[in-house]
């Protein structure tokens, strides 16, 4: 009985931490993005609200909440309102299996620094990520607007097309590690004779990066919200906090993809000062160094996201689809076969 109470209390605490972490991350990534984009265009970006502009996300959130919310005449109100909630829900769920640090010894028990340490972690993540398309397509369809419908269709086709290559790229990692658990994959990268999978799987890394960018609808694959042709794409008819929820979902998905890259390819939480075998010591500070390494790797990849947005132009829709189906998919299969050959012979 007390074991159950322990599990439930631990889960509630971890869930709240995950939600708050994603929310804070969303706020400060938007600020960071605007400042970096500004610097890359030789201007400042938001620096006036509070010291270094640090209160800007709060001001933005307040503004979004206090705006007038209109639902146009022809919308199907139930679906129209639930679509942003669904997007946000999916984005919040996806982070659950990412281990942000080594297990930590607290209150007489080893506790994972992942919300859930399930043995099919990657499969769970893929399943949740592919649900993300529902919020977008339903929101677009229920808006009864031409731009929305086109944007929703485009994004639906784009997200499912790149999911194939993404799934096969993750599969090559699974082959090398021999497990679907993210914890296991981090460990597998530090077995003797192994190294970070970014060096063993350069093609897989490339596929995950491209697929991740397309899956989160970020530049150069942000055709979903191509302003010049589609106004705002699927969220043309959304305003205020309802629009904010779609944005929240997008940035949270960025964080999840960055965390995934850090876990699968960049060695997870392991860095200088952490060691690989953690349960020799019960001092929590070593685990916290691991968390810091993880956040650093994740932050670097988010910076890469922003950098790419400032650098690359948006690609054309026909190029996008042909690239996904005619280049990425065969490349992913070839990568998978080479990896499989290597694994089955070793």
């Amino acid at each position: 009985m007390s074991a159950w109470i322990d599990i439930i209390v631990e889960s509630v605490i971890k869930s709240i931490v995950v939600i708050l972490f994603l929310l804070a991350g969303f706020g400060y990534i938007t600020l960071w993005e605007r400042q970096i984009l500004g610097r890359l265009q030789t201007r400042y970006g938001p620096i006036r609200v509070g010291p270094l502009g640090l209160f800007q996300p709060l001001a933005d959130g307040l503004k979004l909440l206090l705006k007038e919310q209109i639902s146009p005449r022809n919308v199907k109100l139930g679906i129209y309102l639930s679509a942003p909630a669904l997007s946000l829900f999916v984005a919040l769920m996806a982070f659950a299996i990412i281990p942000v640090g080594p297990p930590i010894y607290l209150f007489g028990k080893w506790r994972d620094l992942a919300l859930a340490n399930v043995n099919i972690g990657l499969l769970y993540l893929l399943a949740i990520l592919s649900l993300g398309v529902y919020g977008i397509v339903l929101g677009a369809w229920s808006s009864a607007n031409r731009y929305s419908l086109l944007g929703g269709l485009r994004s639906g086709a784009q997200m499912i097309s790149y999911e194939l290559a993404l799934g096969l790229a993750l599969l090559a990692v699974v082959l090398l590690a021999g497990t679907l658990s993210p914890m296991g994959i981090v460990e597998a990268q530090h077995r003797p004779g192994m190294t970070w999978f970014v060096f063993l799987q350069p093609i897989g890394f490339f596929l995950l990066v491209v697929g991740g960018f397309a899956e989160t609808n970020r530049a150069p694959f942000d055709l979903v919200e191509a302003e010049q042709e589609l106004i705002g794409g699927y969220f043309t008819e959304y305003g205020g906090m309802r629009w904010g929820l779609f944005m929240m979902a997008e940035y949270m998905n960025m964080m999840t993809v960055s965390a995934l890259v850090a876990t699968l390819f960049l060695g997870g939480w392991v860095g200088i000062g952490t060691g690989i075998i953690w349960n020799v010591t019960t001092a929590p500070w070593r685990q916290l160094i691991g968390v810091a390494w993880f956040l650093l790797k994740m932050g670097l990849f988010i910076f890469f996201y922003i950098w790419v947005r400032a650098t690359l132009p948006r690609i054309r829709y026909d190029q996008l689809m042909e690239f996904g189906w005619k280049i990425l998919l065969p490349l992913a299969v070839v990568n998978l076969l080479l990896t499989a050959l290597f694994v089955s012979l070793s």
Partner: protein, 117 residues
């Protein structure tokens, strides 16, 4: 272990509650002064003549169908990928045969032009 999934259940309750609260908050906060023009669908400043037809190019259907096919193939790789170390080389050959069948279909749809946009 089924208890491994308890955290996910609890997160789904909290996340669902959080998302729903946000949407409900949008119904309460902020002023609400609708006018006829404000509630019309956005059409780049034009008045809407008729609501959009819910029809779209058949290509999107084709892509969705192909996705279903290939995604299911992709999922069937997962169990194989985990036990490949135990299957050793024969396991690799078996998957090669499976992939050859898949490749025939892939080349077929490519030649048919289903992948051209």
């Amino acid at each position: 272990m089924l208890t491994d999934y308890v955290p996910i259940l609890i997160l789904s309750l909290l996340a669902g509650g959080f998302a729903a609260t946000n949407v409900i908050a949008t119904l309460i906060t902020g002023p609400y002064r609708p006018t006829r023009e404000k509630l019309s669908p956005y059409e780049s400043g034009m008045t809407e003549i008729q609501p959009p037809k819910q029809r779209f190019p058949v290509k999107f259907y084709v892509i969705a169908m192909l996705f279903l096919l290939f995604d299911i193939e992709g999922v069937s790789f997962y169990p194989w990928a985990i036990i490949l170390k135990a299957l050793r080389f024969p396991g690799f050959i078996e998957m090669l045969i499976f992939l050859a069948f898949l490749a025939v279909g892939y080349i077929f749809i490519w030649k048919k032009g289903a992948l051209d946009w």
